[in-house]
Amino acid sequence: MKILFKIITIISALMFANIGYSADMKVGFIYIGPPGDHGWNYQHDVGRKAVDEAFGGKVETVYQENVPESADAERVMTQMALSGADMIFATSFGYMDPVLNVAKKFPKVKFEHATGYKTADNVSTYSARFYEGRSVIGHVAGKMTKSNTIGYVASFPIPEVVRGINSAYLAAKKANPNVEFKVIWIFTWYDPAKEADAAKTLISQGADVIMQHVDSSAIMTVAEEAGVYAFGQASDMSEFGPNAHLTAIINGWAPYYVQRVKQAMDGTWKGGVQTFDGIGAGMVIIGKMSDKIPDGVKKEAMAIADGIASGNMHSFTGPINKQDGSPWLKAGETADIGTLLGMNFYVEGIQGDIPK
């Protein structure tokens, strides 16, 4: 009994000693896949490292990778909060309800949820207007395809992905009126083998430019082998397909993460905020353009990016009809944020249905 007591004393002494030396603030990140994916999770980890760098030893960051979008996420975040995290970034859409549940249990912990739409007093959301980037690469795709068939590998039928398909399609159609989209939904964010299978299927059906809204770089590798074009998703992926890589939509989370952590430290952080930034704020970055793209097309693409950044252009500018032919936007009208965030329909011209 005496020994047990001693052990407890020593352990608790160590624990307090640990707290004495710890950083001012602890920030946790949860990732849906591995940070080594060179895609979505990789960029969140770049943001985390930027936080590390910006605050030196004052902020300690921790992360957990491969966290499923289920009760597991709740368990992981609870664990983080219990072990002293003051702020938690949940970096995938499916963490939405788990974040709200855990946030209720830990009202003092600040939560930031990526791409979601539900907030609370201690939960803010942030998302990037990736669709702006897709207008730019959609234009490039429309100009670069020779078979007039563009393949699109999509993950889950959620508004963010549907928005991207619509935006890319509108831009491609404008650049090349004969263009046709083939969409495959694979119901996963990260499965290199499945992504490769989907890309191969699209290529076998005549697609010569592949776009993707899934996280790995497998599609780029397949495109390189098959001699077709593809775009980097979330990160520059040119190392996986030096000839296939046209350009990339790069996610720039670092400025936002640093800013929010700073606000949390000086007490100006607020819950219930919904940030939705795009090319203008640097949350969406257009990567380096390949030499394979003719100069004229490069210029047009950059003009679109600049126009969107300055606010003179909008990816969804009317007249646009919905897939069933019913009018959505009148000439010159731009889409409102509510419709964009809840987008569950294709625009006119896209074949097939959005899976339910």
Binding site: G36, K182, P192, A193, D197, S204, Q351, G352, P355
Partner: protein, 310 residues
């Protein structure tokens, strides 16, 4: 919706490629389970094979050495499992799960410097004359040799288990290790070899993913293929040919639904993606009913540790 856009020969060819890693991993597990060992570490051994095959392939510049390396990598990891469950008599289920977690972790660590590198090209092994048959040639006779190897391995496994004396001993150990031991058969040694064989084939399946099918190294790239292989073994009722059939059905549904989507057909994709797993559950229910009880093929000593009583 234009069905003529689906390229049937390429569809058949891709379903064969998709099924190959599953066939390899599941065959290895089948042999291990027949000897009475339940190794839930297939996923870990596959990813270990994927990374070690990739590293060796890149370093030597030869995809073939890479494949050998993947088998060795898988076998090495499985030898760890063999030691834990055969010598230390640890619980097989827990050890297998641990092996998966360990494999995923160590593969990520080893593979870190190798992301973003293209592996050496793999020569496809076309069958002379037959490859020129229109349609059939693309479907069956222009694959790489691993595809043919997986078929030969299935036949060899079936023959070995059913007709060879060693195969009979292996099965008897899986059915009742105490009796087999009292007859003088080497339970531990046989199981050790079965586990290593399972590891080598799972590793080869993983290597096929990283060297041929994707081909690149990405962390966590097996993405659950090992678990599907485990389900296939049960689905097949521990029979190599039913296992082949199961793997091709699985691969077929996977590729077919991608093709149907690409032509824009209106189907319930979520349901179709679920189909292979539903089939597995259904198969489990059917083979656990009393009529099938007698020949369902599950070894009686599956998952039971052997402790020598002298």
């Amino acid at each position: 919706m234009d069905f003529s856009e689906i390229n049937i020969p390429i569809l058949i060819a891709s379903l064969i490629v998709t099924s190959t890693p599953l066939i390899l991993a599941a065959l290895g597990e089948l042999v291990a389970e027949k000897s009475g060992i339940l190794n839930l570490g297939v996923e870990g051994m596959m990813i270990m094979g994927a990374v070690s095959g990739f590293i060796i392939g890149v370093e030597t510049g030869s995809a073939f050495s890479g494949l050998i390396g993947s088998a060795v990598g898988g076998a090495l990891l499985s030898s760890l499992f063999a030691f834990i469950v055969l010598v230390m008599k640890a619980n097989q289920v827990a050890s297998g799960l641990a092996l998966t977690i360990f494999g995923l972790g160590i593969a990520a660590l080893l593979g870190h410097p190798y992301t973003g590198i293209a592996p050496p090209k793999f020569q496809s092994f076309s069958v002379p004359f037959l490859e020129d048959i229109p349609g059939l040639g693309v479907m069956f006779f222009q694959h790489d040799f691993v595809v043919y190897f997986s078929l030969i391995a299935a036949i060899a496994t079936w023959y070995f288990l059913k007709y060879s004396r060693k195969g009979l001993i292996l099965r008897s150990i899986g059915e009742n290790h105490d009796v087999a031991h009292s007859l003088g058969y080497k339970v531990i040694a046989t199981r050790f070899i079965s586990i290593i064989f399972g590891g080598a084939l799972a590793g080869l399946g993983g290597g096929y993913l990283s060297l041929v099918r994707v081909p690149q190294w990405t962390e966590g790239m097996t993405a659950g293929a090992g678990w599907i292989a485990l389900a296939l073994v049960v689905f097949s009722g521990w029979h190599p040919f039913r296992l082949l059939l199961g793997a091709y059905i699985f691969g077929g549904i996977t590729i077919l639904q991608l093709n149907l989507q690409a032509i824009g057909i209106n189907i319930n994709i979520a349901l179709l993606s679920m189909a292979p797993y539903l089939a597995t559950i259904l198969a489990l229910v059917i083979i656990s009913t009393s009529r099938f009880q007698r020949n369902k093929g599950a070894p009686k000593c599956l998952g039971v540790s052997f402790v020598k009583v002298t």
